[in-house]
Amino acid sequence: MNIVVCVKYVPDAQGDRTFNEDNTTDRANVDGLLSELDEYAVEAALKIVEAGEGEVTVVTVGPEQAADALKKALQMGADKAVHVSDEAIHGSDAVATSLVLAEAVKKIGSPDLVLTGLSSTDGTMSVVPAMLAERLGLPQVTQVSTLEVADGTVKGRRDGDAVSESLEASLPALVSVTDQINEPRYPSFKGIMAAKKKPVETWSLADLGVDAGQVGLDAAWTKVESFAQRPPREQGEIVTDEGDGGTKLAEFLAAQKFV
């Protein structure tokens, strides 16, 4: 079982995330890390391989610092990593990112499973997995909170608001997992040491045969025209409950015409 896990290096949500002058996400001046939601995909891949056999390759598309995201995945236990890095990729939208990822997956080989998280924590669009499935011509088994792979078939449960759907597809398939699926492991000391010796390949767009004119800010099919910081909320009245906190809350609701 060969599994490719697509991961993303994102600005830390705990930090002050902001934009560059060209309206792209600032990835250089804000501390970054492996997108938390991708850890669930790495964990899911490791569990499958540990229960049988095979290899887990992690791939990312991003600037130099994105190597940190791969490192974390290798420390968790992935076998090898591919870093697609090219100046021309800066400012790519989801469409272009999915193109580069799709070509990288093809070059890695023909995996039985392509795994992703449910969304990045920066762009939060949740669209790259579906785009990858479309581009790779793979069945799309997305947003599942359970995952079972056996006898050339993948099964998972997709929880919606009104219904839970049981999904089934033949391998190879593209699967995205939610944060309900498992509890990602912390890298062990052994894992951290072992990661240092694991292979990391760096590929350019030319290595993938992708024309630089198809990606990047100028080629994006959408354009961020402007950004504005939302003014911080002004703190309102805070009362300490001295036996009448609930009454005061109700008075506030009445004053605001909610009651």
Binding site: S126, V127, Q140
Partner: protein, 318 residues
Amino acid sequence: MAEVLVLVDHADGQVKKTTAELLTIARSLGTPSAVFIGGNVEAARPRLAQFGAEKVYVIDNDDVENYLVAPLAEALHAVVQQASPAAVLLPSTTHNKEAAARLAIKTESGLITDAVAVEAGDAGVSTTQSVFAGSYTVKATVTKGTPIITVKPNVVPPSASQAGATVVPVDVQVSDAAKGAKIAGREEKQKSGRPELTEAAIVVSGGRGTGGDFSPVETFADTLGAAVGASRAAVDAGWYPHSNQVGQTGKQVSPQLYVAAGISGAIQHRAGMQTSKTIIAINKDEEAPIFELVDFGVVGDLFTVLPQATEAVQKARS
């Protein structure tokens, strides 16, 4: 004026409010045409007509129901080819965002998700989104193809404008390639009888401070006719279903009133609620970061504050 396609959100022909909202937006961009997937279009037609749909494209094909996302994208592609619309609007749900993603690739069109405003601008359709956990807003445009835009609920008040809602059947042959992921079973979830979280005008949420007992949260929510939400901590502890989780990895809500009970207000949670119009918090810890956001806060125990507030609200009403 060019057509603007609106994918209808419905349950067996019962049209949801988000559809009326999208038809209202579509009227400001062009001539609205609804896209109805399913067999019971006659039940939906009056409401679609009421909110201005000139045409209703109908795709009644079991494959769209029986396989995940890919057939819906093919169906939408067929309608886009037939109608050459000025834009495609879809309610921002998981399913629709994924279908929109595939449609964007198929039609070589720009995709914008989770818009909170959509306007006609000089450079075509212009959108507004709330990003980075609600700390920024961005304005964006689509520069290639047909703008495909998923729109969040509650971003415009639906306004009626009668139109013909002429039914136009569209024959879609779903490709074998799109039948890769079969929906082998469906399990209906128990209905709470409360409003849907993302559509509710008022949301009352509970967190770690409930200790697993959501009864005061639910009682207060029911008194206000509110939806019930939960923090990630409460969901991870197994106290409340994941479908009720408010936050970065759950639902993003933007109601008129949001009440956070026993929730500290970590960035994970704030990402899902800080664009709410009015925010109230109840927390024992006066240092809880949630208090930075509130219009009104009570430092106290939710198990005494909420029942007292419930009683006071009921009394005020009677």
